[in-house]
Symmetry: C2
Amino acid sequence: RINGERLWAALMELAQIGATAKGGVKRLALTDLDKQGRDLVVGWGREAGMSITIDQIGNVFMRRDGVDNTLPPVMTGSHIDTQPTGGKFDGNYGVLAGLEVVRTLNDLKIKTQAPIEVAFWTNEEGSRFVPVMMGSGVFCGAFSLETAYAAKDTEGKTVGEELARIGYKGEQVPGDHPIGAYFETHIEQGPVLEDADKVIGVVPAVMGLSWYDCVVTGMEAHAGPTPMGLRKDALQVATTIMQEVVAIANRYPPYGRGTVGMVQVFPNSRNVIPGEVKFSIDLRNVNDELLNTMHGEITAFIDATRDRTGLGISLERVSYYPPCPFHPDCVGAVRNATEKLGYSVMDVVSGAGHDAIYAARLAPAGMIFVPCKDGISHNEIEDAKPEHLEAGCNVLLHAMLERAVA
Amino acid sequence: RINGERLWAALMELAQIGATAKGGVKRLALTDLDKQGRDLVVGWGREAGMSITIDQIGNVFMRRDGVDNTLPPVMTGSHIDTQPTGGKFDGNYGVLAGLEVVRTLNDLKIKTQAPIEVAFWTNEEGSRFVPVMMGSGVFCGAFSLETAYAAKDTEGKTVGEELARIGYKGEQVPGDHPIGAYFETHIEQGPVLEDADKVIGVVPAVMGLSWYDCVVTGMEAHAGPTPMGLRKDALQVATTIMQEVVAIANRYPPYGRGTVGMVQVFPNSRNVIPGEVKFSIDLRNVNDELLNTMHGEITAFIDATRDRTGLGISLERVSYYPPCPFHPDCVGAVRNATEKLGYSVMDVVSGAGHDAIYAARLAPAGMIFVPCKDGISHNEIEDAKPEHLEAGCNVLLHAMLERAVA
Ligand SMILES: NC(=O)NCCC(=O)O
Ligand SMILES: NC(=O)NCCC(=O)O
């Protein structure tokens, strides 16, 4: 069993770096605070006897040797960058749970056949630089190192410059690093475990998602003198599409999701009929065929709305990730560990993307979820219970040991 | 008959001051450009033999003496401040049409019994300083001089300071200035005249309006992991209210108006379910009882929506102007003048507020509308035809002569 108090203490110490007044953390990727966080974790890794490798996109791999170092390592990891109004656990828990596994193995003087590695991936959040899950994405070849280096923040600083500046532009070619199996512990970021009162979520798969930008173009006009019948009110048409996004998701339970999160109205003046409304659409499903059906339905609805209203409506798909089923061996290892330890358990499909979906392109992978308070994350009030974090870390320990062979 | 070419030339010359690249005008109230515009118009007034009075809120009255100067003046006017992306005609037309009337009377050596005055009111637009229609509002006692002086722009500069700085803080106590009758010519700012192919709009009344701020409070959560049934999506609830605003207006044709012009979504992130949505509601009607019914319907709908969804919804009324019927004598004078001159004509209720609604609290008042291209104003592409502007000015001349007695 791992040491829950030590895990909690590490989480609280790392959360000091970039701590916000409301109890959250703001530690954006490749800032000075990110460097401080990285240095702290790397220092802990060295103290635990691990060797450090950094690759060219700044992913950090901390390695505990195995009996047979020609075997590919059993890896765990996540990220330590946060949202601008982020919490203490998102990502950080996955990294420090890995560190706690190694500290426990050291305490118990357990040798594993395969090496054990704890990774943290660069810029998972995508808040400062897009795309999200950048480090793991470059690692698995989803996009190029050059693309990632060129990404700019709002001040025009690039990932390449900022990585060099904070001293985390390593030597290793991304992906030139074998992995035997990959596990990631994470807070659920949703309310399902809490709602069902379970401690451990076994994650069979991550949902696929389609992101769209939709623009409705009407005619800007004065709210007073323009009769209702002569209007081309872009917002009124947009609201019918926004409602359809949710209606579509509701037609595909339990894993259909539909969200409009971002809206911009032009000119956004109290007494002007909106001439243009731009909004985002986020559709998800764990089944790619159903995700595709949902895509077809929103497209058809928009075509029909264009015909019905005569307004201009454009729909552009700006991102697509297919669903990612995890490897039966890793999912099985998590399930076995949970049963052995006697925690209450259920399957929870991940609605959010994680570095694990990129790691899964290169090696068998699996995830372990623990509950977070009210299902809230990406928020300074994000919270989780020490005993749940401890339980998830114990499951990680046993799942990794099953794969690395004690 | 007035000189249409001279009127057009004056409009084009004034439009040079603050001219924008897209053919519009940006001449915000009490800026250096407003001072230049004021100086130009006052200069023209003096050249036309008029005497100038400025009151403490910077309203300017340019007076052509009558035969009997103890009679209260027949006044016309409007404003020369513009929206940030304003046009050449909104307001400016009403002032320069008045100037053209005086120039024509001078050319024809016509003496009127009552004096004639051309006024321009300070800060009608309300873009830089709120409230809107500030000069005429103070003049009629709708709010105090102190309130107006204290109004600040986004840089913290006050109306009082800026009036003094540009040299237009006059001596006269606002309102201490009799008016016999008030006429205002204005572009329609709506599509009704153009749609009906008429040249002159006789304005029987200005609609009343109620402005509201509505805030829907749900629960911010991650768009992926949060099942549809566990969401409190503030935007989805807000869209039903936005649609009801229009439905209510449509239940009270032809003068019901309902508009949602301004929307803010928090946190406004693509993969976050909106936790809060704030939006404006603009309801109008020419009948105060119906406006009140509309108010009752939106209130009831919001109460029912709160009960149905369990989300927090607040509705605050932030402005209310009652409908303003114009005086039968002034409306009649406009109608008579139009008939005499033989222009095509229809009644057009004004959907937008104008300085005339405040002037109407002190004296019989009326308005004359001319078409504007596509009904568009508050936009750099605002446009109007020289022959329509000329026609409106001829109607103004004859309506004023009816009241001032040639
Ligand atoms: N874990 C997480 O928030 N990933 C960001 C991409 C997503 O919206 O799923
Ligand atoms: N004329 C005008 O745009 N007035 C502003 C107030 C309103 O929206 O009616």
